[in-house]
């Protein structure tokens, strides 16, 4: 995948992810529509590839207004990742030459790698994660209707111990997947499945879609620099 293809694919995926997020804000009769209807229109421009640079700049400006409206990200990590992808895409479009374009887009790939690596590190230094108790508490405390039906998992400490170490090992070893295109594809399928499970079990749907948007950058990065 060359950088132009990867950038275009990221634009389309990010536009669709932003539309998905924005539609969720239209269900309440309050002042959020004034922010999210324009976001849908700008995201559509991104998807169809019309006036992309201007659409990206306008989306960055609108994102700052949305951050102020909610006194921070509305949806924590997924909004932060969305903003990171948006800023990297915008900088890649505004870059004065090919080298700076690659630096901007490569930065996104590095951040994606770090998102898994640091998550793994945070877990392995935490005794609750190493013992499997953190995952037990996730199932025990959840208020999400789907996972309430799975509360019985909290009584399966051995299973959750193994699951905890699988997650930790995968996240810590993720950077090694860049050594080969096939291992990277395999790792990304595992990672996407992990996000999909979180979306089904805990309702974290935005994380699934937005993390997928960063995958073209790492596929391009691996193909060109590893």
């Amino acid at each position: 995948m060359n950088i132009d293809e990867a950038l275009r694919l990221t634009e389309i995926m990010l536009g669709l992810a932003f539309i998905q997020q924005s539609i969720e804000h239209l269900h309440r009769p309050n002042n959020e529509k004034i922010l999210f209807i324009p976001r849908i229109v700008l995201s559509l421009l991104l998807v169809i590839g019309f006036q992309v640079s201007w659409a990206l700049i306008a989306l960055v400006a609108l994102s700052l207004v949305i951050l102020k409206r909610f006194h921070g990200p509305y949806n924590g990590g997924s909004d932060r990742m969305g903003l990171l992808i948006l800023v990297c895409l915008t900088l890649a479009h505004l870059a004065p030459n090919h080298m700076w374009q690659e630096i901007a887009f490569g930065y996104l790939a590095v951040q994606l790698i770090l998102s898994y690596l640091i998550s793994g590190w945070v877990k392995i230094v935490n005794p609750a994660w190493r013992s499997g108790r953190a995952l037990r508490d996730v199932f025990a405390f959840t208020t999400y209707p789907v996972s309430e039906n799975l509360r019985g998992f909290a009584e399966q400490p051995k299973l959750l111990f193994v699951m905890s170490w699988c997650v930790i090992a995968f996240e810590l070893l993720f950077p090694l997947s860049l050594l080969n295109t096939n291992t990277l594809y395999f790792a990304l399928i595992i990672a996407a499945t992990f996000h999909l499970a979180n979306a089904f079990l805990f309702g974290l749907n935005r994380f699934f879609w937005i993390w997928l948007c960063a995958y073209p950058s790492i596929l391009w990065f691996q193909g060109n620099y590893v």
């Binding site: 309440r28 006194h71 949806n75 405390f141 789907v146």
Partner: protein, 92 residues
């Protein structure tokens, strides 16, 4: 479940309200008014939509947090709001 992959506003709103709750117990005045307003606005909207049955003109909310103390799960009420007059959906 498939539908919730692309449209799950209630869950994402609940996550945002959890962030507001965490900000409120930090006792940060900068965030207090904003977070209180976000929570109250949504309670009032739920009342207006009939999702919460109310019987008075005022509302008060509390924030309860659960945590683990060794093998016990304990619940602490860390914040109780002021009495707030309902501005919509109020009983007459």
């Amino acid at each position: 479940m498939i539908k919730r992959m692309v449209y799950n506003p209630a869950r994402n709103e609940a996550l945002f309200l959890a962030s507001c709750a965490e900000r409120l117990i930090k006792d940060d005045l900068e965030y207090e008014a904003h977070s209180t307003n976000e929570i109250v606005t949504r309670i009032e909207q739920d009342i207006a939509e009939g999702l919460i049955v109310e019987s008075g003109r005022y509302l008060q909310f509390r924030l309860a947090f659960i945590s683990r103390d060794k093998e016990q799960i304990v619940k602490h009420v860390l914040y109780v709001s002021d009495m707030i007059e309902l501005t919509r959906g109020a009983a007459s």
